[in-house]
Subunit: 349 residues, 2 copies
Amino acid sequence: MKFKTITWEKGKIVLIDQTKLPGCLVYVRCATVKQLWQAIHDLKVRGAPAIGAAAALGMVLGLSKKNEKSFPELKKNIDMLFKYIASSRPTAVNLAWALGRMRNTAVANRNKPVMAIKKLMLKEAGDIIDEDKASCLAMADNAQVLIRKNDRIMTYCNAGMLATVGCGTALGVIYRANELGKNVKVYSCETRPLLQGARLTCWELYKHKIDVTLICDNMAGYLMQQKRINKIFVGADRIAANGDAANKIGSYSLAVLAAFHKIPFYVVAPYSTFDLSLSLGSEIPIEERDACEIREGWYKRSMVAKGVKIYNPAFDVIPNSLISGIVADTCLIKPPYIKNIKKLRKNQN
Amino acid sequence: MKFKTITWEKGKIVLIDQTKLPGCLVYVRCATVKQLWQAIHDLKVRGAPAIGAAAALGMVLGLSKKNEKSFPELKKNIDMLFKYIASSRPTAVNLAWALGRMRNTAVANRNKPVMAIKKLMLKEAGDIIDEDKASCLAMADNAQVLIRKNDRIMTYCNAGMLATVGCGTALGVIYRANELGKNVKVYSCETRPLLQGARLTCWELYKHKIDVTLICDNMAGYLMQQKRINKIFVGADRIAANGDAANKIGSYSLAVLAAFHKIPFYVVAPYSTFDLSLSLGSEIPIEERDACEIREGWYKRSMVAKGVKIYNPAFDVIPNSLISGIVADTCLIKPPYIKNIKKLRKNQN
């Protein structure tokens, strides 16, 4: 691995500023929770598993500034930090999942001294990071039955090293395939408005010598019609109990196009991305972001006449009926999803 | 109308430089055929009917610099200009259609003095412009049976006043609907890489007080899923004898999404956009444009790591099976297209 998406260094969270890629590989140091909140909100760090890890470290960072005398005092600060950090982005469930793990660690050790609890919480954040690395490798392995030599795979947004602390979700699958000599070729959709596909996916795949070609999002259907791709792998930000999966806006369109062209469409996501409290994808909150991302975005001038309305939903939900399989870290999940995801829950309990 | 897309002024072709919109409304004067070729190639003027009109005037402009002594000499120059101007862009058939009309005018009057032939050719270019205006109005009227009060219409790229010398093809339909009090609301896809939807369609609709909302291309499926739109109208660059229609890249994806959501998808194009010499859409040449349009485009820096491959097809073909109706200037064409387009040809002969 040639870079580190997130690390904990001398009491600070160090992140690649992904808004500066591919031009500059710049790291930012978050010394306060507010800086971390802003980094997540501004997409300096993004990707469901990565912001889960960042949130866990954010909890540690926040508590490091406090000097609580008792568990109830500590618990109050933990709850406050939970609420604050979780508010940075609404769709990816990994944020709340990681923060929940941190809180549970504290609660389970409530009878220990505050300093000891905080040490255990730092260890828990470290575990979340280590588990994410292992989970990426597990997904990469679990997906290999789906990949043949010379496959031409389309991917969307960035579900790679930059979206996790490991080798990625959807891109981890591709890295592993090519380590195994499968010679997979990738088409990356640029992913408007913020171009995570163009800026991040192409950057990390190219750095790792994967054959990658960039297209605009609106070219995906044409490529399918021309039989230039034969599989699609994407990540996810939250998966409901029925298998409906929220992912970067445009994923739904891609899944419909794939179904029309009979191209298998796979979602790759760790167990931490499943939100089993939601029975349907329609219950997943969809983040709406500022119009300026479309109006100006990376341009240096407004590309739209003043006064024109702009709609900027950041995610959409792929219904389970359009998903050929969900590659989790625990196993490869095939339809019927409600039944097979229920089994997953049992195994985890 | 608040602006003139193309005019002939004192022996020069005056065009809106559409690459400067929406920031500045700037006109460029083409004093040579080379300048016109470049303006078409660089998309300063674009849209099938508009470049047809520009090409006709380009022929006049080219001949105005010559001093032929005989018809064979004139004919040689006409053929040269035809070939040269037609090479500026390969997909829109209106270019060759307009140049063909200009050549036919010359041939039909071959026995007249060269100067008289040139005068008739200038008149012919004027006729092409006048007919385009009339044809836009006819399409706008022919489409009204398809539009109900409060329709929410999605459109793509720019098929408006900027793409014609009249009120537009797909957008002409919308202007007319709202003149008739239908209160149509429009969603405009931004149309990567060159953002004709964001820059041009939103600009001209907003200027004409049409309720328009801009989205990224990858949001179209989500809007359909959410039932925010109920009809789609697009233009076309070339229509084969079976009704397959080439249009801006992404139109095919949109048509597949529309079919999946059972949303009617209409193509609006004048008779000059039909190429009855082609029996299938697959025979339409697809222009591939420079990678820099995606890599840098309107950005001031490269948004992709150096070395990454980029694929930039400028058009795709919507198969007739995904088209609910073709609104032509002559009539509204419904399936079966092969039969009904053949009828059209008969009526024209």
